[in-house]
C-alpha cells in the first residue's frame, strides 16, 4: 500500500517537473538569492578572520566606519570623525536617531561596550581578534553622540579597526557570550534585519525600513548554502539564485549564456614560493632571483587561473594605490641560468641537475593538500625549474601537519595579500622583528632598509609620503625575492544579468568562517537592484 502511494507521488512529481521550472521565474520579484559554498557557524560578525578590517560585515550590523568601493574609509554609524595631530586620539560624532532592529535607540554606550568587550580580552574564543584592540587606552563617552578613543600607540592602519561591527549593549550585557542565542538571531543596526535561518539550507534577511542610510531596494536577501559547485551553477541557470562565486576554470561553461553575466574581480591574494633565507642555497640573492625568473608565471596564470588575475613581482597589485610599476621583470630562463652560474652552480656530472660544492640543487616543495591551485602551482614550478637544472619534488601536507616551524624552514607554496592599508601584514611579513614569530616572516627575511621603511610607513599619515615609502619597499623586495612571487588571482562570479548596482572591488586573501555571507562581490548588496 505504502509503495503504491509512493509510486503515485513519484508519478505526479514527474508530471509536474516541466511546469515548476517555468513557474519559478516570475516569483523571484524583489528577492536576491546568493548561493554560497559554506554555511556560517553563527552570525557573530567579529568571529571572522584576524583582519581587524571588518570591511564586509554581515549586512545585519554596521560599524563606526566602513570601506567604500575603493577600500577607503567612509563614515557609517559615525557622522564624522577627527584624528588628533599626534594620531593618538580619535573622536567620533555619531549619527542621530539610529535604531537597533528591535526599536531601541542606538547610542555611544553601545560603541563603548563593544570596544571594551574586545579590549578586555576575556572573550577571546568568541572574538579572536581581541588582542588587536589592546592598544586602546581609553574609551570615553563625551555625550550620547560623541565617543573618544585614546590609543597607546599604533600604526596609521589602526583606523581601519574602526569598522568593527557594533553590538547592542542592552541585549548582550551580562550574557554568556559563548552560549547566547543572540548569534543565532542577531539584532543590529545594518541595512538588513535577521528574519530566519533554516540550518543547513538558507539564511533569510529582510530590508530594514528604518535604516539610517538609504533603505535597501531589494526587500528580501537570501543566502543559500550549497557545497557543490555544479549544484550552484545549476541553481543559477534555473534562475533560482542570482549570484554565485565560481572557480575561474568554470567560466567556460557559463560564458555567453543568456541571462548570466560573469564578473572577474581583482583580489590582493598573491601566490608565491617561500624561499627561507636560512636554508641552503636560498641565502643567495642570485639563486632567489633566478628562481623568480625561471617560473613561467603567465603560463601558470593562464592554465591554473584561466587567465583571471595578474602576474606578481611584489606584494601589491597594479590596482593598489601604492603600486610601483618599476618592479616588473620578464620570464627569462636564460637569465636564470646565468644567475645560477654566477652563484657558482654548474652541472659538472651532466645529470641535468646543477651542483655546488658537491651538493645537488634539489629540494622538496611543500604545498597544502587542501588547496587544489597550490598543488597545480607546485607541479608547474617543478617543470619550470627542471629546465634550468633545479630538481624540485612537490610534497603534499595537510594544514594540520604544517607546523609553524615547518612553514618557515621549507620551500612552500604560500598565499597572502591584503587590499587594505599597505602596512597591513606587510609589516609582519617582511620586518626582521618577526623572524621566528609564529607564522610571520616565513622567509626569515632580514634587510635593514626594509625594516626602516616599514617602521616609517606605519607612522606617517601623509598619503604621498607613504606612497613613496611603499614604492621603495616594493623595489627592494622585488629585487630580493624573499618569496618568489608568482600571480595575483581574480575572484570570479556569475550573476543574473538583471541585477544592477554591482561594484566590484579588490578582495582579500582567503575566505573567513562566514563562508562569504559577509562580502565578496555582494559587499554592497543593499544597493543592488533587479530589473
Amino acid at each position: 500500500m505504502r509503495t503504491r502511494a509512493l509510486l503515485a507521488h513519484l508519478a505526479i512529481g514527474l508530471i509536474l517537473l516541466a511546469s515548476l521550472s517555468i513557474a519559478d521565474a516570475d516569483q523571484t520579484g524583489k528577492t536576491i538569492s546568493i548561493a554560497v559554498g559554506k554555511e556560517p557557524d553563527d552570525l557573530n560578525p567579529i568571529a571572522n578572520t584576524g583582519h581587524g578590517d571588518f570591511y564586509d560585515i554581515i549586512k545585519i550590523y554596521s560599524g563606526l566606519l566602513k570601506s567604500d568601493e575603493n577600500l577607503q574609509l567612509a563614515p557609517d554609524l559615525a557622522e564624522s570623525w577627527t584624528v588628533s595631530p599626534d594620531g593618538r586620539t580619535y573622536t567620533f560624532k555619531l549619527k542621530k536617531d539610529v535604531k537597533w532592529h528591535d526599536g531601541s535607540d542606538f547610542s555611544a554606550q553601545d560603541v563603548k561596550y563593544t570596544y571594551e568587550l574586545l579590549k578586555d580580552g576575556k572573550w577571546i574564543s568568541i572574538f579572536p581578534v581581541s588582542s588587536e584592540f589592546k592598544i586602546i587606552d581609553d574609551i570615553s563617552v563625551a555625550d550620547q553622540d560623541t565617543v573618544r578613543f585614546t590609543i597607546n600607540e599604533g600604526p596609521v592602519s589602526f583606523q581601519e579597526r574602526f569598522s568593527l561591527p557594533i553590538l547592542p549593549k542592552h541585549i548582550l550585557e551580562g550574557q554568556d557570550l559563548a552560549k547566547t542565542d543572540f548569534w543565532q538571531k542577531p539584532i543590529g543596526t545594518g541595512p538588513y534585519k535577521f528574519e530566519d535561518w533554516k540550518h543547513g539550507e538558507e539564511l533569510t534577511l529582510i530590508a530594514n525600513q528604518d535604516y539610517y542610510g538609504e533603505a535597501p531596494k531589494i526587500g528580501v536577501l537570501k543566502y543559500i548554502f550549497v557545497p557543490d559547485e555544479s549544484a550552484r551553477i545549476s541553481l543559477l541557470r534555473s534562475g533560482e539564485v542570482d549570484a554565485i562565486k565560481i572557480d575561474p576554470r568554470s567560466m567556460k561553461t557559463l560564458e555567453g549564456q543568456t541571462g548570466i553575466k560573469i564578473y572577474s574581480t581583482p583580489s590582493a591574494n598573491w601566490y608565491g614560493i617561500n624561499l627561507p633565507g636560512k636554508m641552503w642555497p636560498f641565502e643567495s640573492k642570485e639563486v632567489r632571483q633566478a628562481i623568480a625568473r625561471a617560473i613561467n608565471k603567465q603560463q601558470i596564470l593562464d592554465t591554473i587561473f584561466n587567465g583571471q588575475g595578474e602576474i606578481a613581482y611584489g606584494p601589491f597589485r597594479e590596482a593598489d594605490w601604492v603600486y610601483n610599476p618599476e618592479i616588473a621583470f620578464p620570464y627569462d630562463p636564460e637569465k636564470a641560468r646565468q644567475l645560477l652560474a654566477d652563484a657558482g652552480f654548474e652541472d659538472s656530472n651532466g645529470d641535468g641537475v646543477l651542483e655546488k660544492d658537491g651538493k645537488n640543487f634539489e629540494f622538496e616543495l611543500i604545498y597544502p593538500s587542501s588547496n587544489a591551485e597550490r598543488k597545480d602551482i607546485a607541479i608547474a614550478v617543478k617543470t619550470d625549474l627542471a629546465s634550468v637544472g633545479i630538481k624540485v619534488e612537490p610534497v603534499a601536507k595537510s594544514w594540520d601537519e604544517i607546523s609553524q616551524d615547518l612553514y618557515r624552514s621549507n620551500p612552500i607554496v604560500v598565499a597572502f595579500g591584503s587590499p587594505f592599508d599597505p602596512d597591513d601584514n606587510n609589516y609582519q611579513l617582511w620586518s626582521s622583528k618577526f623572524i621566528g614569530d609564529g607564522w610571520w616572516n616565513p622567509a626569515s627575511y632580514s634587510n635593514a632598509e626594509v625594516d626602516n621603511l616599514l617602521e616609517e610607513g606605519r607612522r606617517v599619515s601623509d598619503k604621498e609620503t607613504r606612497k613613496e615609502i611603499y614604492g621603495k619597499l616594493q623595489r627592494i623586495i622585488s629585487d630580493d625575492q624573499p618569496i618568489a612571487f608568482i600571480v595575483f588571482c581574480n575572484y570570479v562570479y556569475a550573476v543574473n544579468d538583471r541585477v544592477t548596482g554591482i561594484k566590484p572591488r579588490n578582495g582579500p586573501h582567503g575566505q573567513g568562517t562566514n563562508g562569504g555571507i559577509d562580502g565578496e562581490l555582494w559587499w554592497n548588496v543593499e544597493e543592488w537592484q533587479k530589473e
Binding site: 578572520t49 577571546i124 581578534v129
Partner: protein
C-alpha cells in the same frame, strides 16, 4: 513463546547501555587521534596565523581543549548520563537541538531511499531468480556488480550531471525550491520533486544488497522439497514461485534490513553533502571536518542508538514472522 520473546527483548535492551558505552569510548579516542587540529578548525587558518601563541592557548582553555583526553571523556560521560548532550562550540548551540532539528530531513531521505531500494532490489532479484541463467539474469547480475562497486559519490555526481545539469529535469540540490511555494499542494510537489534525485541515488547504490539476497535465497528455496511438492500438485509455475518460494525467501530480508541500517546512514553522509540536503549526514561530515567533538559524539550516540534499536526490531520481527525460530 511470548514469554520467552519478552525476556529475550528485555535482555537485548539491557545490553544497550554497555554497548553504547563501548562505542562512545572507542569513538572519543578515535576522534582524539584524528589529525585535525581543533583550534585551527574552529578559528580558521587565516585567523590562527595572525594570533599569538598566548592568545591561542587562551582560546584552547576557554574551549576546554587543553584538558587531557581522558578527563574530557569523563566530563562528557558524566553529563550524558544526566541527559545533557553537551554544547557544540562551533555552532554555539546545544548538541541535541542541532541533531533533532536536522533528523527529519534524513529520515525522509533514508526512508524513501530505502523503500525504493528494497522494492527495486526485490523486484529485480525476483526477476533474475525466475530467469536464472538467462541473458536477463546475466545482465542484471553484471549491472548489479557495477553499481555495487561504484562509490555512492560517483553515482550522485553522475546523476546530478545527467538529470539536473544536462537534462534539467530535476533540481540539483536542496529540499525545496529557493522560492518556496506557500500553499500545501505545490509545496508537497516541490518537495517530492527535490526528493527524487537524492533518494534514487541512495536507492540505486544500496539496491545491490537486496538484489543479491533475494536472488540467492530464492534460488535456494527453489531447491527445497516443498517446491517439488507444489509443482507435483500441478500448481502453475508463477504460483509456485510467488506463493511458496518467494514468501520463504523474504525471511532473511528482515535481518538484512536491520543490518544495512549503518550502511544507509553512511550513504546519506555522501548523498546529503552533494545534494545540499540539510540532514544529519551533512551535519556529520561538517562536524568531522571542523573537529566539533561534542556534536560528533552526539551524532555517534544518536545513530548508534538508531542502529541498535533497528537491529533489535528486526530480530523481534523475525521471530514473529517465522514461527520456527525460538529464543529462550
Amino acid at each position: 513463546m511470548d514469554r520467552s520473546l519478552a525476556s529475550y527483548a528485555l535482555r537485548r535492551v539491557l545490553q544497550i547501555p554497555p554497548l553504547l558505552l563501548g562505542i562512545s569510548l572507542l569513538a572519543f579516542f578515535i576522534f582524539y587521534l584524528s589529525p585535525v587540529n581543533p583550534t585551527i578548525a574552529y578559528l580558521g587558518l587565516i585567523t590562527v596565523q595572525k594570533m599569538t601563541p598566548e592568545d591561542l592557548a587562551k582560546v584552547e582553555e576557554q574551549l576546554g581543549l587543553d584538558k587531557p583526553v581522558q578527563v574530557r571523556y569523563l566530563v562528557w560521560l558524566e553529563r550524558i548520563v544526566q541527559g545533557d548532550w553537551g554544547y557544540s562550540h562551533i555552532k554555539k548551540r546545544p548538541v541535541l537541538d542541532v541533531i533533532l532539528e536536522r533528523f527529519p530531513a534524513t529520515l525522509l531521505l533514508t526512508v524513501t531511499g530505502y523503500s525504493m531500494s528494497a522494492l527495486l532490489g526485490v523486484l529485480l532479484g525476483l526477476l533474475s531468480a525466475i530467469k536464472a541463467g538467462s541473458r536477463i539474469d546475466v545482465a542484471l547480475n553484471g549491472l548489479n556488480y557495477v553499481i555495487y562497486s561504484t562509490p555512492t559519490f560517483l553515482v550522485a555526481l553522475l546523476a546530478m550531471l545527467v538529470f539536473a545539469v544536462w537534462l534539467g529535469w530535476l533540481p540539483s540540490s536542496r529540499m525545496v525550491s529557493v522560492n518556496t511555494p506557500t500553499s500545501d499542494w505545490p509545496l508537497l510537489l516541490d518537495r517530492i520533486h527535490h526528493l527524487i534525485l537524492p533518494a534514487s541515488v541512495l536507492a540505486i547504490s544500496h539496491m545491490a544488497v537486496f538484489y543479491t539476497y533475494i536472488r540467492s535465497s530464492l534460488l535456494e528455496a527453489m531447491q527445497e522439497d516443498y517446491i517439488l511438492t507444489a509443482r507435483a500438485k500441478g500448481l502453475q509455475e508463477s504460483r509456485v514461485i510467488l506463493r511458496h518460494a518467494f514468501r520463504n525467501s523474504l525471511l532473511p530480508l528482515i535481518t538484512q534490513i536491520g543490518l544495512s541500517l549503518p550502511l544507509l546512514i553512511g550513504g546519506s553522509v555522501v548523498v546529503e553533502s552533494i545534494f545540499a540536503w540539510p540532514g544529519i549526514g551533512k551535519l556529520t561530515y561538517d562536524a568531522a571536518l571542523r573537529a566539533d567533538y561534542m556534536l560528533l559524539m552526539g551524532l555517534v550516540l544518536f545513530t548508534s542508538l538508531l542502529v541498535i534499536l533497528g537491529n533489535l526490531l528486526a530480530d523481534i520481527a523475525y521471530v514473529l514472522a517465522d514461527p520456527r525460530v525460538k529464543y529462550g
